[in-house]
């Protein structure tokens, strides 16, 4: 469902991704690990269509379509979701309103009936229970004054309500305490299905204890340098990335 070929991406003058290849099938969960600055978030932004990330070479095909042709909101409508490494604050806009605007935009795009206020409330409540998100949090402005853990849980809530086909989770485990990690891990796992693929970016094996990946990749210096099964994550945790930096150099 997702096929990235020879992807080269520049930010300004600097080349960040240098010939990245990745293929994800429907229903698969892939994990990407790699050192700081390797280009993991860059990949997530290119997939979601952020301005300023210039694709100089290569292709991305998503469900048989050229992803690079689409505006960000269209990609969201087509089922791409990004859980941000650094979720953005929107003062004065309640989380509830934001979620509703998002869900209804996407429903409209997909030709589904938009929710009215009551229907939406019911729909959201089903998800907030699982993720242990209080009504009080939904009333607060989007990410404003949220703790690190609350932000990450709110991202997973957005993923749950937007029902994506490809979810990219960028360090959704960072900043979480043990309990929150379990809640997020189980929350994401509950969303696994044969129709949904996931790309999980993380530095730590512990998240992968909950979200057991089908494939693990190592991204280093703008390329996928190794691919394996879940055991690769365990090895990386033990040995670090040093062997790869030699390989690149």
């Amino acid at each position: 469902m997702l096929e990235i070929n020879n992807l080269h991406v520049n930010v300004g003058e600097t080349q960040i991704l240098k010939g990245l290849n990745l293929k994800i099938n429907s229903g698969e969960v892939h994990a990407i690990m790699g050192p700081n600055g390797a280009g993991k978030s860059t990949l997530s932004y290119v997939l979601s269509g952020r301005a300023g990330y210039e694709v100089t070479e290569g292709t991305i095909s998503y469900q048989g379509k050229n992803l690079l042709d689409m505006e960000p909101e269209k990609r969201a409508g087509e089922g791409i979701f990004l859980a941000f490494q650094y979720p953005v604050e929107i003062p004065g806009v309640s989380t509830m309103n934001f979620l509703k605007a998002a869900v209804n935009s996407v429903r409209k795009y997909r030709g589904d009936k938009e929710f009215d206020a009551m229907e939406f409330l019911k729909f959201v409540r089903e998800q907030t229970k699982i993720l242990n998100i209080s009504d009080d949090m939904l009333k607060r402005a989007v990410n404003v004054g949220f703790s690190g853990g609350e932000k990450k849980r709110a991202e997973v809530l957005q993923m749950a309500v937007l029902d994506p086909i490809l979810a990219v989770l960028d360090e959704t485990d960072s900043g979480l305490d043990v309990d929150a990690l379990r809640i997020v891990g189980e929350g994401v796992t509950a969303l696994r299905s044969s129709k949904r693929s996931m790309l999980v970016i993380t530095h730590y094996q512990r998240l992968l204890d909950y979200i057991i990946p089908d494939v693990v990749h190592v991204l280093s210096s703008g390329k996928i340098v190794d691919t394996g099964d879940k055991n690769l994550a365990l090895e990386l945790e033990k040995n670090g990335y040093e062997i790869y930096s030699e390989a690149v150099a």
């Binding site: 952020r50 960000p72 604050e89 206020a117």
Partner: protein
């Protein structure tokens, strides 16, 4: 809360200025130009007592010796005051219709299109009954719920009618807050004002419904000079709303209104405005010059006045709703959202004049500028020698969209009392790219994202509006910024 979604829907379906149509009716107009005869003509049309004609004449004489103000940060070609009509009334509404049956069906249709309920059984937004006074060019064409209100002793009628039926009240209070000599545009208004609303809330009465006036400029080349006078007697309470629209025309039209609020001891007036006069086109052709004087006098102990305004329309806006806090412990509030897009100019703010002891005022002003527009917040906070322990808090936030617009903040603070406290905070920001991207990643289009973010920015002000208007205002925020990004 529901409204944001509606905003998004509306933004997609409503064209830029949906109120821009013209109603084709026969009008009764005064000859073009301004002179003593025109003033006599207006006064005669309204069948006014001689004291009022004298007052108009004094104002006119004074006006002849005045200079048009140029201190505001707005620019416009010189207005030819002789090249406009000062009175235009729908023919059928000449003496004021007795009931809705007498109102020209074309006019009823107009209000229907505008979504203003003139039949009492219609309810606005389904929330609560709202009494409406509809002013069409120079006259009031209908006022609803008059009888229901009069049972409480409340007077709500066109000011021209109040002059006849309640001369003692009008004579006592007209010009008592904004004297005829006040400023160039207020003085002009005093000379030629045509209609507007009059409200009197008796002692101890809490007005059971929202009162509102809906102003519509229809005739071309006509100035609108309405005058509103609201008196809240001791211990009474009222919430009043005004809304305004005008057809799209290439020429500029002058709207110079005066609003006077008299708040007696323990009384409370909440005055809300959603100003959506035609702003002109993308190139700045046409639009209303909105030069308005609004002032409230808190005359008794514990009296309170709160101005809330959402200014999205007009080519130029020049207005400073003010509070004179004379009674001890009186409270003045000013909540403002001013949105300018394309070539619009707004110079708006407030004046808080603290005279009494322990008076307090709060100013929350949000300016949003897009396109090539210019927006200025201009505010005066004045602590007079007897204003012991008085305090003011001012917060001015500007949001810029794009690179060609401007936002300016001009606060004047004058304190002549050591114990008074004045606090001022100001910020200027832009809609951040990461905010826009975050919204778009969630499926929200760029325009809807701007509407959402700006509504969030204005939240503190919009939530002060009565429910019925808050919904409308949130939609307007989205619509008036259309085309400002991308």
């Amino acid at each position: 809360m529901v409204a944001v979604k509606e905003t998004l829907d509306q933004v997609q379906t409503v064209e830029k200025y949906k109120y821009g149509f013209v109603t084709d009716i026969e009008a009764d107009q005064a000859p073009k130009g301004l002179n003593e005869d025109i003033i006599r003509f207006i006064s005669k049309k309204k069948d006014e007592p001689s004291w009022l004609l004298d007052w108009r004449m004094k104002a006119y004489e004074h006006w002849l010796g005045m200079k048009e103000p140029d201190w505001a940060k707005v620019g416009y070609p010189k207005i030819d005051y002789q090249d406009a009509f000062y009175y235009s009334a729908p023919k059928s509404g000449d003496d004021g219709p007795e009931s809705l049956d007498d109102v020209d069906p074309e006019i009823l249709e107009t209000y229907k299109k505008l979504g203003i309920p003139l039949h009492e059984q219609e309810v606005l937004a389904g929330v609560k009954n709202v009494a409406v006074d509809a002013v069409f060019d120079s006259v009031s064409v209908a006022t609803t719920f008059k009888e229901a209100l009069s049972k409480e002793g409340i007077i709500f009628c066109p000011i021209s009618e109040a002059v006849k039926d309640h001369p003692e009240l009008v004579r006592k209070y007209l010009g008592s807050v904004v004297p005829y000599s006040d400023n160039f545009f207020a003085t002009l208004n005093s000379a030629v004002f045509t209609d507007g609303s009059f409200v009197y809330i008796p002692k101890g009465v809490d007005c059971p419904m929202e009162l509102s006036t809906y102003f519509r400029i229809n005739a071309s080349n006509t100035g609108q000079f309405e005058r509103t006078l609201i008196i809240a007697d001791e211990g009474s309470k009222v919430s009043y709303l005004e809304g305004c629209t005008a057809p799209m025309r290439d020429e500029n039209q002058l709207h110079a209104a005066v609003v006077e609020l008299v708040v007696l001891g323990d009384a409370d007036i909440k005055y809300s405005t959603v100003q959506n006069w035609y702003p002109g086109d993308e190139n700045g052709v046409g639009g209303i010059y909105n030069f308005v004087t609004k002032r409230a006098a808190c005359r008794g102990k514990n009296s309170k006045v709160s101005w809330t305004q959402v200014e999205t329309g007009s080519a130029i806006t020049w207005k400073y709703p003010s509070c004179i806090l004379q009674g001890d412990n009186s409270v003045g509030e000013f909540y403002s959202v001013a949105i300018t897009n394309n070539c619009q100019q707004a110079d708006t703010g407030t004046k808080m004049i603290h005279l009494g002891k322990n008076t307090s005022s709060k100013i929350i002003a949000k300016g949003i500028s897009a396109g090539r527009s210019q927006s200025t917040y201009r505010g005066l906070v004045k602590m007079m020698p007897k204003a012991e322990e008085s305090r003011n808090y001012t917060q001015c936030d500007s949001l810029l969209i794009g690179k060609k617009c401007g936002a300016h903040t001009v606060p004047y603070i004058e304190s002549r009392n050591q114990s008074a406290k004045v606090e001022h905070e100001a910020t200027t920001s832009k809609i951040a790219d990461d905010q826009l991207f975050y919204c778009r990643q969630r499926g929200i289009s760029e325009e809807d994202a701007v509407a959402l973010i700006v509504n969030g920015f204005c939240r503190d002000v919009l939530q002060e509006l009565p429910m019925e208007f808050a919904v409308e205002a949130q939609k307007l925020v989205g619509i008036s910024l259309e085309g400002s990004v991308g």
